[in-house]
């Protein structure tokens, strides 16, 4: 099932047809905001940390962040439910058409928004156009800031680099990056299933954030398979998608309280 959104036009009633392939549901009622997903994501995807000054200036590289607002005033004050915000892998993504070099193409095969690091020239238009503000830019070569390494016999050595996940490209300066729905895990699972001559099963693998979540608030899987766990969660009454009115067709469903 492929829908050419450019042919159908942005405003058609195509949302259902374009439900996509991979999707995620996040239960805000049980998300405790513990940041385990943020850490897991960083560890899995070779995301660089940027240091105090840059982090305070909006340059942190988190691919997933947990939002929290306030309601009311003391003593009736309430923190709004923690809201993990990550790339929504829109079916009709605003970031995609604006890239001049096709560094943010839509994956027709996986129905994901890709970010091809080696093609990116760093115009940052995609990040501007992302209504969810979930793209992060490599403002500098954070991984090789000299203060992070040790001098060993005259060469600068970075012990932290030993941790790099070989399945994920390490990004250099001037490149946009964002959540990939752990596409390396998708590929690995698909490859494994194919080598065993079967389809990928629901729950066989999951993204790093969903894997880590102690509350199991994040569920990942095929939204086009009605029997998958994520489909069933997504179609609950308390499911909501963010900024749906912009017709971005987000693939992440937020389950609200109640």
């Amino acid at each position: 099932m492929t829908v050419d959104l450019n042919l159908v036009g942005a405003k058609g009633a195509i949302a259902e047809a374009a439900e996509g392939k991979w999707g995620m549901s996040i239960d805000q009622d049980i998300c405790t905001g513990c940041q385990a997903c943020v850490a897991a994501c960083a560890m899995e995807n070779n995301i660089s940390f940027v240091g105090e000054e840059d982090a305070g200036y909006g340059r942190s590289q988190h691919w997933i962040r947990i939002e929290r607002f306030w309601e009311g005033a003391y003593p009736e004050v309430k923190a709004t439910p923690f809201q993990p915000m990550l790339c929504q892998q829109c079916g009709h993504a605003p970031c995609e058409p604006v890239c001049p070099v096709f560094a943010t193409p839509h994956s027709e095969a996986e129905q994901l928004n890709l970010q091809v690091y080696n093609r990116c020239v760093g115009t940052r238009y995609c990040a501007n156009n992302c209504p969810y503000q979930v793209r992060s830019f490599n403002w500098r070569d954070y991984h090789t800031i000299p203060e992070r390494g040790n001098m060993v016999n005259g060469t600068l050595v970075f012990p932290l680099h030993n941790q790099f996940n070989p399945d994920v490209t390490v990004r250099r300066r001037g490149v946009m990056e964002k959540c990939t729905f752990c596409i390396q895990r998708i590929h690995k699972a698909q490859d494994k299933a194919k080598s065993e001559g079967r389809e990928v099963e629901d729950g066989e693998f999951t993204t790093a954030c969903a894997q880590a979540c102690p509350a199991n608030a994040i569920t990942f899987g095929r939204v086009d398979h009605p029997e998958s766990l994520v489909s069933q969660l997504t179609h609950q009454k308390r499911g909501e998608k963010h900024l749906e009115e912009l017709n971005t067709l987000p693939r992440v469903t937020y389950l609200k309280e109640g």
Binding site: A109, L114, R119
Partner: protein, 184 residues
């Protein structure tokens, strides 16, 4: 006026000067290309020709190609497994580095020839599973000593083959030409 400016080039000596300049530029470029195409220096002049000729299968030394992304280079103990039974091993000057390394318990520093950049996530398994033979990409190893690439392994080369293989199958073509298949 323009003619006047370039008058000197029309004189016989001028023509020769232009020719020399053009030739030296060309040869410089040719030298550069040649330099970049030189196979790297390897610790041992390993003869693929000989080994394949003796009937050693590619996958015997590079078994990873069946299972995952990287075929792997043989460990020195694997080399030794056969070579310890060959008398020539101890005498051949070509094999001396291996004998020494084995004695010291050290490995070799090989220089892989078929390389893709880090931002390309190439996996051997599906390619082997799809029925490709090693020589389809790596050339005929019965002809070479040290492995050399028979062609430039760039994206156009990948895509050409992907498109050929997926001809007529829309779904497969989508999958095989998807950016996210190799780049993530």
């Amino acid at each position: 006026m323009i003619r006047k400016t370039f008058e000197w080039a029309l004189s016989p000596m001028g023509r020769i000067a232009v020719l020399i300049a053009a030739l030296s530029l060309f040869s410089l470029a040719a030298f550069g290309v040649y330099q970049s195409q030189q196979p790297p220096e390897q610790p041992i002049q390993f003869t693929h020709k000989l080994h394949v000729g003796l009937g050693v299968q590619c996958l015997y030394c590079h078994p990873g190609a069946l299972r995952g992304p990287s075929p792997g280079l043989p460990t020195i103990s694997k080399c030794w497994g056969c070579h310890q039974q060959i008398g020539k091993t101890q005498t051949s000057p070509l094999l001396k580095p291996m004998v020494d390394a084995m004695a010291k318990g050290e490995g070799f520093t090989w220089v892989p020839v078929a390389q893709v950049p880090d931002f390309v996530h190439f996996t051997h398994r599906p390619h082997v599973a799809a029925g490709l033979n090693c020589e389809n990409c790596h050339g005929d190893m019965t002809q070479v000593t040290i492995a050399v690439n028979p062609q430039v392994m760039n994206m156009g080369w990948c895509l050409n083959c992907h498109k050929q293989k997926a001809a007529g199958d829309e779904e497969k073509l989508t999958k095989l030409t998807d950016c996210g298949t190799c780049h993530y």
